[in-house]
């Protein structure tokens, strides 16, 4: 076992615990988190298996496949977060506007 493996296992474990502890979520999401954790454990303990899996998609290494999935997934996350940012901005604007109109002052 290489040093990196226990390190990654600990990080995955902490991530799972943090998720279960701090994010209120529905049961499906918790099960999904457990499933992802199981995949992580497998991939970390048997790195060669991920390589074989990747090669069946025509990608050289498991690490490369993960990188591609991560890159395309983060574009998706970015667009979602940006949409969220825009709608939050619209709400904040409406609050500031309502207050400004409510507290308007007439000069002399």
């Amino acid at each position: 076992m290489k040093l990196i493996q226990p390190a990654l296992l600990i990080i995955s474990m902490l991530a799972l615990l943090a998720y279960l502890r701090f994010f209120r979520s529905v049961l499906v999401d918790r099960l999904l988190a457990l499933f992802i954790f199981a995949l992580q454990v497998l991939a970390i303990t048997f790195p060669e298996a991920t390589n074989r899996f990747a090669q069946s998609f025509g990608v050289g290494r498991g690490a490369d496949l993960l990188f591609y999935l991560f890159a395309s997934g983060s574009v998706f996350v970015y667009v979602l977060l940006y949409g969220k940012l825009l709608s939050t901005e619209a709400k904040v604007t409406q609050i500031a506007r309502t207050l400004a109109i409510r507290d308007a002052r007439k000069g002399n």
Partner: protein, 230 residues
């Protein structure tokens, strides 16, 4: 139906204009129109100075941008019985003497919107730099293409709207992309518009404080991502 001048509201979005807004409001206070200044959380004394004039003053508790300030002014004026609204910059570049012509444009042509233009015959841009002229012409070309409207000056902040038109135009672009947003709403609602020649003055103050050319990229970005919201 001619417009009752006492029900005309001048909307003045202002951010960090303490050194000039007093004079701008003096020139507006000499008219019969109602005035609302929307101070966008200026760190200087812009709002205090505005409160010394006869204007109504709304203050945003956070800085939101010129587009947001104009929409706040529109809401305020409409809820106070405005029949027509005029948007007017606080930085001294616009001239109160142009307002009657805008209102006459609404009246005479039964238009919903009267758009000020510095580039149409009779209009002028005093002391405008060549680079700014080129940039504005480019922006005008782009906005003409995107809205399909035949307009000579799409980024002019001096304009008049009838109340019914102002109700249809809801600005969601908080920052500088509101200028083209207003025009696309004009196109979308098939509002009748006229262009009216106006005089815009560029001073050392307005140029140093005004928009940098590089902000064009932000404006384009805001316009594109704004479509995500629709």
């Amino acid at each position: 139906m001619s417009i009752n001048f006492e029900k005309v509201w001048i909307i003045v979005p202002a951010y960090r204009e303490a050194s000039v807004i007093g004079a701008v409001l003096d020139s507006l206070a000499a008219t019969k129109y109602q005035i609302v200044v929307v101070d966008d959380c200026s760190p200087d004394t812009t709002a205090e100075i505005a409160e010394r004039s006869r204007a109504h003053v709304c203050r945003h508790c956070i800085n939101l941008g010129q587009g947001a300030a104009i929409q706040t002014g529109i809401d305020y004026a409409l809820s106070n019985g405005a029949e027509a609204l005029v948007t007017f910059d606080a930085d001294g570049q616009h001239s109160a003497a142009d307002i009657p012509a805008l209102l006459e444009g609404l009246d005479k042509h039964k238009a919903d919107v009267a758009l000020g233009s510095r580039f149409t015959t009779g209009g002028a841009a005093h002391n405008m730099g060549g680079a700014r002229r080129t940039l504005l012409k480019l922006a005008t070309l782009m906005t003409r293409l995107s809205t399909g409207l035949n307009i000579s000056d799409t980024h002019n902040g001096l304009r008049a709207l009838r109340a019914e038109a102002a109700r249809k135009i809801r600005i969601t672009q908080n920052r500088m992309a509101h200028a083209s947003e207003i025009l696309s709403l004009v196109a979308q609602h098939k509002l009748k518009f006229v262009e009216v020649p106006v005089h815009i003055s560029y001073t050392d103050y307005s140029t140093s404080k005004g928009q940098r050319a590089s902000n064009s990229f932000n404006i384009i970005w805001d316009s594109i991502t704004g479509m995500l919201r629709r």
